[in-house]
């Protein structure tokens, strides 16, 4: 067997992807992460390692939306991520093996790569009735999550369900579903909320981790600031219409056709933080507001309960400019996040105490009842 001469750039080169293309990709990652350009060399070096880091992707109470989003990755192309950048050794939806062979793969990683591998989790974890609402190979999701996520080097929760229980946890939470950090307390978790996650952000987090061996700067929900630090309303392409008082008043009216502000149709953009308007979806093609529908704040904490009813207009939002934080909105969950995220402070790492935060939050809104709504 020939020696392992294959690092990523030479592997790519053999498929006709030039070193120049590879450098372009690295530059893009540096830009997405808002890193100074002098870090480019470090990114290039990190991604050129011959031994690929191992990744496992767990799916629990999920819809595979985050998997599907991952398959849409264009920068880098998904095939490069799963074949060249990482050794992607367990992922139910797309892996070759099944049954015993699949489980043996996972067990090998947990034992032989202990403390070195990355675990991505998708879907909520049911905790009611001893976890019988989700089993894989006869084991409960909770059992698997505990084992895999406590032996890994890093855990990334992708999508609303893995972060905070998402839709599965919405009232009345029939299965006692929780997100990873609450179901398996004490393990380090980076949360990439959204329904689903935007793979552009997840790719950037992976690249950051592979380059620096640590996660990018996080907010108090352990979400990367570069993706969750800015208010959607402030980045919205329709913002000028809001400031000028031009609103869609009815679906299909003149305002709808001219791309006016959707605030009166229930858009939650003024209270949501995410880089959705700038990164957009499917290779930057569009995002919900561009398709004429309001934002539902899908990247916000416990959004299913507090952001609905989705067509109900937010209470009067005072006119605020792009340089004022959402703290001025004076509203619960998102206000608290935006207040500390300090949009332009990428680089300062804020690692909030999640469990402390959660206990404060639970104090505000008991499980099973509707969390604070804008009207509350």
């Amino acid at each position: 067997m020939p020696p392992f001469e294959q690092d990523l750039p030479s592997a790519l080169e053999r498929q006709g992807v030039s070193r120049r293309d590879f450098l372009e990709f690295c530059s893009l990652m540096v830009a997405t992460l808002a890193l100074p350009t002098r870090y480019l060399d470090k990114v290039v070096a990190a991604l050129s390692q011959p031994q690929k880091p191992v990744l496992v992707w767990l799916e629990f109470q999920d819809c595979a939306g985050n998997t599907e989003s991952m398959l849409r990755s264009s920068h880098p192309p998904v095939a490069d991520v799963v074949l060249d950048l990482l050794s992607w050794e367990y992922h139910e939806t797309i892996m070759a093996g099944a049954g015993k062979q699949a489980e043996a793969s996972l067990q090998r990683v947990v034992k032989e790569e202990k403390g070195k591998y990355i675990a991505i989790v998708e879907g909520a974890i049911p905790t009611a009735d001893d976890g019988v609402y989700c089993t894989i190979a006869g084991r409960t999701a909770l059992d698997i999550a505990r084992e895999v996520c406590s032996n890994s080097a890093a855990n990334i929760a992708v999508g609303a369900c893995a972060w905070d229980g998402g839709l599965v946890r919405a009232n009345p939470n029939p299965t006692g579903a929780l997100g990873l950090q609450e179901a398996v307390p004490g393990v380090p978790v980076v949360n990439l909320g959204g329904c689903p996650h935007n793979v552009a952000n997840t790719a950037a987090v992976l690249v950051h981790y592979l380059t620096f061996h640590e996660m990018p700067a996080l907010d108090q929900y352990n979400r990367p600031l570069f993706a969750y630090g800015a208010i959607i309303h402030d980045q919205c392409e329709r913002r000028a219409h809001y400031d000028a008082g031009r609103f869609v008043e009815e679906w299909g009216d003149e305002g709808s056709r001219k791309g006016w502000c959707l605030y009166k149709m229930g858009c939650k953009g003024p209270l949501a933080t995410y880089n959705c308007p700038s990164v957009r979806w499917n290779d930057g093609t569009s995002w919900p507001v561009k398709a004429g529908h309001g934002c539902i704040a899908c990247a916000a904490h416990r959004f299913w309960d507090w952001s609905s009813p989705f067509y109900k207009r937010l209470p009067k939002v005072p006119g605020f400019g792009v340089d004022v934080t959402a703290e001025n909105i004076g509203w619960g969950v998102v206000g608290a996040v935006a207040g500390v995220t300090a949009v332009h402070a990428v680089g300062s790492i804020i690692r909030g105490n999640v469990s402390k935060l959660d206990s404060q939050k639970e104090g505000r809104s008991k499980e099973g009842s509707k969390p604070a709504s804008p009207e509350a």
């Binding site: 699949a102 929780l178 569009s286 398709a291």
Partner: protein, 569 residues
């Protein structure tokens, strides 16, 4: 005699387990079990019916949009709302895009590795692979250098001993029969299809803001307002040009890559035309309205069902004849364990009675799945592309008839060969081709409608809840790529009182019913040869031919809504 367990069944959506009895190298009995439950129908209760689609869409993202469409149709049916023609066209375009995208991902990324040995590709001569490719297709990406590059990439993976997604495959299994050149061709197209799907789905981004989980449906129409003169309109001539251009690539990819690949693979596995037959009953709700939703006779894909493999008769569908058993499902009916109840009258309580995890085997004599067993007038029904194709074929839909007869002639096979594992694969590919033939024309229809000055995209007459009756009931039917889908909604005092969903994979993957009749997966696995019970490749072939979606399949209704409302965690 040995009990074989495959859990998890991978390369599907969701959590599926199969247990099978193997006698003399063949499966003598099989049990299909869904092992995950969320309770989404309980979660939407008490919420605004206009947003039910946003919630129910999250049942599944592999089948993204299908539940959104069935949901808005159910509410529109309950409130008697007719959507404008433009909204019908946009909905059909989103659905057609979903069919094409979903079927291509299924063949290459969820199913191909059951037939293609990745390591076989290493032995291929790239020059011969190039010859093979050029002999079956005009597709231009077929040079020796190209296939050499793909082979090198596989070599790099294998030599690194880090096989990534391919780590746990059944390489070298005796049931693999493709020559190495075909293996290499398929691996190359696996990678090309990854690129294709990513580009093609940008149609959904334009029409829905994003994929997965589109965000442009509205009860009464779509949010994608259309205007020929306004650059910021969600749909305008420039954006229609863009999606028409992307849609145009589908026909070429399907005609020149998917169809030749499916035919080539089928040619090497002809014995699978005689394996994997389901119950012989096929149901389709029909899809792609060409006029008002009520004009079922004008659907592009017809509604109907077939019994006992008899293609001489297509029966009309009565949605009231759908009913579900829980005899072998982890639920209770107050009316007893052996009765079936229609979705609109279901009163179901989840109650897990399976073994305590971790467990080795399920107790298949009792309850063994989170899926119920839906039946149509007590008939076990197979749903999906094969059922739609057979119903269309038997109904005499001229285009379907031509396309099916053409392929059967090429394969030198009679129509009865379609009742099989390969039949499902062939039907799915042909359906992809059928829609790829039409999608650009449907975009053109929308452009012409806009050009003639029809800018209506939403009917707002009943948007405000104060225009609604105090109570209303309705249902929305759709053929999702995986088969017949129905949502049932009951509205009271402007909120959802009850919500039920009967999903394609529940039909196909459900357990035995009160009469002991096996579900379609369980029937299709019978007589499957098993070369090596430790490596159940043959089980995957037949199960994957149905394209399972288990997140969709598990659901529950609870008319009183009390069982869980008080559960605290």
């Amino acid at each position: 005699m040995a009990r074989m367990v495959v859990d998890p069944i991978t390369r599907i959506e969701g959590h599926l387990r199969v247990e099978a009895q193997v006698d003399g190298g063949k499966i003598s009995d099989a049990w299909s079990s869904g092992t995950m439950f969320r309770g989404i129908e309980l979660i939407v209760r008490g919420r605004d019916p206009r947003e039910a689609w946003l919630w129910t869409q999250r049942i599944c993202a592999v089948c993204t949009m299908v539940h959104a469409l069935a949901s808005v149709r159910a509410v529109e049916n309950a409130l008697d709302i007719e959507v404008p023609n433009n909204a019908r066209l946009v909905r059909n375009l989103i659905s057609a895009t979903q069919y094409i995208h979903d079927h291509i991902i299924h063949f290459y990324h969820l199913h191909a590795l059951d037939w293609v040995d990745i390591t076989g590709a290493l032995k291929a001569d790239p020059a011969k692979t190039s010859q093979l490719a050029q002999s079956i297709s005009e597709w231009p990406v077929s040079s020796t250098a190209y296939f050499k590059g793909v082979q090198d990439r596989v070599k790099t993976l294998v030599e690194s001993r880090q096989l990534s997604l391919f780590t746990s495959g059944y390489w070298g299994h005796p049931a693999y029969h493709l020559p190495p050149e075909a293996d290499l061709l398929a691996v190359a197209h696996y990678l090309q299809a990854l690129e294709f799907q990513r580009e093609f789905i940008r149609i959904h981004a334009v029409l829905g803001g994003k994929n997965p989980h589109l965000q442009s449906y509205l009860v009464g129409g779509m949010s994608t307002a259309i205007d020929p003169n306004w650059p910021d309109a969600p749909l305008n001539p420039e954006r229609l040009d863009f999606i028409a251009e992307v849609a145009g690539t589908a026909k070429k990819f399907v005609d020149q890559v998917l169809i030749p690949d499916v035919l080539a693979v089928a040619g090497f596995y002809r014995d699978w035309f005689a394996l994997g037959a389901g119950p012989g009953n096929y149901l389709s709700y029909g899809a792609f309205p060409q006029g008002r939703i009520q004009d079922v006779g004008r659907y592009f894909l017809p509604r109907g069902f077939i019994l006992n493999n008899d293609l001489s008769k297509v029966y009309p569908v009565d949605p009231n004849k759908v009913a579900e058993y829980v005899t072998h499902s982890w639920y209770e009916y107050p009316q007893g364990n052996n009765v079936s109840l229609p979705p609109a009258k279901g009163e179901t309580h989840p109650k897990y009675t399976g073994p305590k995890p971790p467990y080795e085997f399920l107790n298949v004599e009792e309850k063994y799945s989170w899926l119920k067993a839906p039946r149509y007038d007590d008939h076990v029904m197979e749903v999906g592309p094969l059922s739609r194709t057979l119903v269309a074929y038997a109904s005499g839909q001229p285009e379907v008839k031509a396309i099916v007869d053409g392929v059967l002639a090429k394969l030198n096979a009679p129509p009865t060969a379609l009742f099989s594992t390969l039949g499902r694969i062939a039907a799915r590919a042909l359906e992809t081709q059928l829609l790829a033939n039409h999608i650009v024309g449907w975009i053109e229809e929308l452009r012409q409608s806009m050009g003639h000055g029809d800018l209506r995209m939403h009917n707002g007459d009943k948007w405000e809840p104060d225009t609604w009756p105090r109570t209303a009931q309705g249902y929305g039917l759709f053929e999702a790529p995986r088969g017949s889908l129905g949502h049932w909604v009951e509205i009271e005092d402007t909120l959802i009182k009850n919500y039920q969903i009967v999903v394609p994979s529940t039909w196909n993957a459900g357990p035995r019913d009160g009469k002991g009749q096996r579900g379609p997966y369980e029937t299709a696995l019978l007589k499957t040869p098993i070369a090596d019970p430790e490596r159940p490749l043959e089980v995957l072939r037949t199960i994957h031919s149905f394209d399972p979606c288990l997140a969709c399949a598990v659901h529950v209704t609870d008319a009183r809504g009390r069982t869980y409302a008080r559960r605290e965690i």
